[in-house]
Symmetry: C2
Subunit: 292 residues, 2 copies
Amino acid sequence: MTDAGGKQEIAIIGLGLMGGSMALALKKTGGYLITGYSPGAETRRAASKAGALDHMAGSAAEAVRNADISFFCAPPNAVIDEIRACAAFFKPGSVVSEVCGVKEEVFREITASLPAGVSYVGVHPMAGKERGGFANADENLYKNAGFILMYADDCPEESVRAIERLIRDLGSERVCRNTPAEHDRIIAYTSDLMHVASAALCRQYAAGMTLAHTAGAFRDCTRVADIDAGLWTELLLMNARHVAPVLGEYIRNLTDFKAALEHGYEGAVYGFLKTAGDNKRKINALKGVEQI
Amino acid sequence: MTDAGGKQEIAIIGLGLMGGSMALALKKTGGYLITGYSPGAETRRAASKAGALDHMAGSAAEAVRNADISFFCAPPNAVIDEIRACAAFFKPGSVVSEVCGVKEEVFREITASLPAGVSYVGVHPMAGKERGGFANADENLYKNAGFILMYADDCPEESVRAIERLIRDLGSERVCRNTPAEHDRIIAYTSDLMHVASAALCRQYAAGMTLAHTAGAFRDCTRVADIDAGLWTELLLMNARHVAPVLGEYIRNLTDFKAALEHGYEGAVYGFLKTAGDNKRKINALKGVEQI
């Protein structure tokens, strides 16, 4: 499971914001022998120059060949394709993981692709930035982030532990276990709806506005509207089954509020805002995160 | 216009987050003789104890009597009532101002209340916090905030300049002039819609969610959902004429997006997100703020 120097061998396929940040954080620990690969020549150059890796492989298959853990960091469809293409090359007994923000389809496709003896533990790190690419990679990106773990019932406990150790080395101990369906249903609210609501706030704007008309509310509510449209098109379409109902609920709530406002129903307007504030404070006080 | 020590006399009526922060910031400059009043005994005690004022008056009328500038810092209906009650006590040649987040009705009521020789310059400082009260007052609240100024055509230039000097002493040089109607139309988008959208995001939540399922998008999009329900009921109802149409546009955009998602229209989903991101970047690059 380790190289001559006693280090665990890890492959990171995709060296953008997520994979690049992972490489930088793990490299710093000194505990891993990191082989990387990215389909983009520019990205490979930037990652090599930054010293994020021990070895740059010439292909994904070459990168995973000796790895104890192979991490795929790309949008969902690319991850599915890459893992399928690497299926014959994973080391027996190794663990395959990925960081996609949507899981049901990814989980189904990956578990169907992998040969016996190679296990899969899906991870969704609750971390990101508006701008992707290795240029924005940051060794602190994952520090204290929540990590959702998903794995099949027959996944060896040892594989889950290997991923948990790696998460700890990324700087977090906040882990939550979900089934892929449970993950996708909850994320449809906690992440997908937030991105849709924020983007929609910038689908319109006010004629004549200046920055002097904006304050913290505008800045915060619209921050993630500066979105990676390609990545999020994929994530949202792949989770449409869960996003559409929570978005429908959001639209119904807004429609009720608009009616209360137009009719001057003070009690309804107040009640809506009061409940929202109470919920927000309840959510902030939520527990249920396992410390690993 | 000044006391024996050459200081301008200012009255601040209402010593919560907005008035308290103003008192703290102006006190620090040493250039003002500040008299304050707040209807709440607890607030008066806290403000006195913090040394935010030179004098605590026994009533609003007493506070404004010798003031060169009288600033009313309360929700709109209270501001209208207080200014009406003080109308006979303002010093001739003095300036009356307030910090309400909605202006058409406030402007109309105040200009109708004031005697000749007392001028009015309305201000909307684009600054705030989720929690109000003197306990949250902060001498840096107004630092670099945008200030919208509104005044009648016959308002003396000298009165506007006096308010601009005070804004500079609060730590900002970012000023924008609007008519009250223009202000309310633009603010309906840049502030009111943001608060409604954020509150509505917390009108619902996902069963089974934990904090590990949330990241920056959730934190930022829902920050202002921890809202002062009473204040915002008043602000939103008083600006319903402008809020309802922008909220209607928001609902229509979300409804279109939901349909695109449900039908799997990749081009429409991508186009929506792409336009939103482009707009967000355009807004961030907006100019049009006057430096005073």
